[in-house]
């Protein structure tokens, strides 16, 4: 394979990996603070993408023409709305089920995901069909050999890196981050140290859902099309990625996200069978990985009290 093709596939893989990693980080954050899987995460992403689209349509009808303003407004609307939605979900559905078996939380959020997905399909105007998503980033590109480096992809990738670095700094350098990590490590001790447990949980869910909204916007800008089903797929992939990496570990989630994208790209390009089998290959590898490392590549530190 020549360099150009290789670079092209690497770039595509990186874009996919960034989206998966953003979703996976959300899963791992939720799991960190509450030890729950919130399966509606992917559908929060869908709702976020559709919120952005609705904002765009609204601005257009109001006659705003500047793409920068539009993009900024979409970003703020989607992220803000999803942060609120995430906190509401945590308050109304996840926290009340704390005493119930973990399976119940998994199921209630799966069903909530169905409700969100169906709501988009039924109540967004013509929501059952794929919707075109506006192209708002500059589309210039630089050609190196037969590798076409597009400016918009580079911007998105850089923005993704910024978000992840920012999250990392927030978790490691601020008081809020310290509180989140304390709750994740030991809820009881954190409470006795004066950490407001439920506020931290709500904030964590808001942050994770805002990340999903960001990923949803990125997904729309990358493919220039969104439909009500994107969240289900991205949610499952993000969940798998978080699991491969090892739940509760931010680095694990990022690693898992990029690894899943790499598996898909390799499955599509380098393997002898048809590229249609890329998902089959990726999920098969996930299953094999789980057999090999049952608690993920970077396992959470776990000691079982009997």
């Amino acid at each position: 394979m020549d360099f150009g093709l290789f670079a092209q596939h690497t770039m595509n893989g990186l874009m996919l990996g960034m989206m998966y990693a953003l979703v996976a980080v959300g899963f791992t954050l939720f799991f960190g603070v509450l030890d729950v899987i919130k399966f509606s995460h992917g559908d929060v992403l869908t709702v976020g993408a559709f919120t952005a689209l609705a904002t765009f349509v609204g601005l257009k009808s109001m006659g705003v023409a500047s793409t920068t303003v539009e993009l900024l407004a979409m970003l703020i609307a989607a992220i803000g709305a999803m942060a609120v939605l995430g906190a509401v979900i945590a308050k109304a559905f996840v926290l009340p089920l704390r005493a119930a078996p973990a399976l119940n939380t998994l199921l209630i959020t799966l069903m909530l995901g169905t409700v969100l997905r169906e709501a988009v399909r039924l109540f967004y105007p013509d929501g059952a069909n794929p919707k075109p998503f506006p192209r708002l980033l500059p589309a210039e590109s630089v050609s190196i050999g037969n590798f076409n480096l597009r400016l918009d992809n580079t911007i998105m990738l850089a923005a993704g890196v910024l978000v992840i670095v920012g999250l990392q700094l927030m978790l490691n350098r601020t008081k809020l981050g310290l509180a989140i990590r304390a709750v994740a490590q030991d809820e009881e001790t954190a409470k006795t140290m004066g950490v407001n447990f439920s506020a931290i949980v709500l904030i964590t869910f808001a942050i994770g859902s805002a990340l999903a909204a960001f990923a949803g916007l990125m997904n729309g800008l990358y493919y220039n099309e969104i439909n009500f089903g994107i969240g289900l797929y991205l949610g499952v992939v993000g969940f798998s990625a978080a699991i491969i990496g090892g739940l509760g570990s931010i680095y694990g989630a990022i690693l898992g996200g990029f690894m899943f994208a790499a598996l898909q790209t390799i499955g599509a390009v380098a393997l002898p069978f048809a590229s249609a089998y890329k998902d089959v290959f990726a999920f098969a590898v996930v299953i094999v990985l789980m057999a090999w490392r049952p608690t993920g590549l970077i396992p959470e530190k776990l000691s079982e009290r009997v």
Binding site: M111, Y277, F283, P294
Partner: protein, 386 residues
């Protein structure tokens, strides 16, 4: 057994409950008018609430607990009555067959989820393995179709055994991802694979037993019967066998071991239970039942395609189990009837059915997380009351 020991409980409340439920079901299936259906459903809900308020449900529960064998027989009679009433109606009989086979599949899931605590979010995939087995074997071989049913179950168990290693090594959420990944892998594989018909799917040849073709209408004594009656009878026989099997397992020391395993793996291990052995047994046996149900369902529908066996369908199976009450076979029966029949009848809400239905499950989880019919405390001795 309970009856032999003095017959403390009366069979009457149970029989009355079954009779009323059957009558309600028959009326519901017969009515076509949407307003009538909605008022009928509301009436049903109100009736149950009123019965609960006056404490009429307690004797029913007791009679089910103490005279179960007799009531099982009455339930079979009730199913036969429903089929007899609708003996000419293809659509209703297909619906009834669907209910019966979904119950069988959910019973299989119940062994895994409810008794052994082994997560399986790929129920629909194993269901699909059975259906595709039926499509391929009926088309290309002359294997007798009753044997195909068994082979379908065995295939589901065999392909399930590929997942054994990861399922055994992982726990909790990590175990969930194994079966979720399998569910997605399976559907994608079916879609991209040319041999098995791709996204269009395959035709399934109808069932034939000893030269009796199941896809012909027939007459007995001048009464015309729909061809689905034959499928209905086979489904009912399979359901009865599966139900008896699940009940026997639950009551036996095998069930006791599985319960111990689910409630506390470490403790079970300390008491010398072979964890691996029982998890493998539960997982394979459950998949076997799901596979058999899927095989017959493929033949009833006459058609298989990947879109019928998605992750969402697996979730529906899990939700039925949860709605009914995990670990209670009777709960499975009631929940399947609700989940399969209500959306089919309520055309007005057909478009919104996934939405309403997901919301319903959420409400159950929030307000009655043990399900509609919670699993009763195990009865260690005949006639023993906890």
């Amino acid at each position: 057994m309970a009856a032999a020991n003095g017959g403390a409980g009366s069979v009457l409340p149970g029989v009355t409950a079954i009779a009323l439920a059957t009558a309600f079901l028959i009326v519901l299936l017969r009515v076509e008018n949407q307003t009538a259906i909605i008022s009928l459903l509301a009436f049903g809900l109100a009736a149950v609430a009123v019965a609960n308020w006056f404490g009429w449900l307690a004797p029913v529960t007791r009679s089910f607990a103490e005279r179960e064998n007799a009531l099982d027989a009455f339930a079979v009679v009730a199913a036969l009555v429903v089929a007899a009433v609708f003996h000419e109606d293809h659509f209703v009989l297909l619906l009834v067959c669907t209910v019966l086979l979904y119950i069988v599949a959910t019973l299989g899931l119940n062994i895994q989820f409810g008794y052994a605590g082994v997560l399986n979010f790929a129920g629909a995939s194993f269901f699909g393995i059975g259906a595709y087995t039926a499509a391929v074997l009926n088309e290309h071989t002359a294997i007798p179709h009753l044997l195909v049913l068994l082979i379908g179950g065995v295939m589901a168990a065999l392909i399930g055994s590929l997942l054994l290693l990861p399922v055994l090594r992982t726990r909790g959420h990590y175990a969930a991802v194994v079966t979720i990944a399998f569910a997605l892998l399976f559907k994608t594989f079916l879609e991209v694979n040319d041999v098995l018909g791709g996204p269009q799917g395959l035709q399934v040849r109808s069932m034939k037993i000893l030269g009796w073709s199941f896809n012909d209408n027939f007459q007995i004594g001048g009464v015309k019967l729909s061809f689905y009656i034959s499928y209905f009878l086979v489904s009912l026989i399979i359901l009865v066998l599966a139900f008896v099997l699940v009940r026997r397992i639950e009551r036996s020391w095998v069930g006791l071991n599985l319960d111990a395993l689910r409630l506390d793996e470490t403790a079970a291990c300390c008491f010398g239970l072979d964890i691996v052995r029982w998890k493998v047994t539960a997982f394979l046996l459950g998949n076997f039942l799901i596979g058999i149900a899927g095989t017959l369902f493929g033949m009833v529908g006459g058609f298989v395609q990947p879109n019928n066996y998605t992750f969402a369908d697996s979730l529906i199976l899990v939700s039925i189990l949860l709605l009914g009450g995990i670990g209670n076979p009777w709960g499975v029966v009631v929940a399947t009837v609700i989940v399969v029949i209500v959306p089919e009848k309520l055309q007005a809400i057909q478009e919104y059915r996934f939405l309403l239905y997901a919301a319903l499950v959420m409400a159950v989880l929030l307000f009655r997380s043990e399900g509609l019919l919670p699993r009763p405390v195990r009865r260690y001795f005949p006639g023993w009351r906890p």
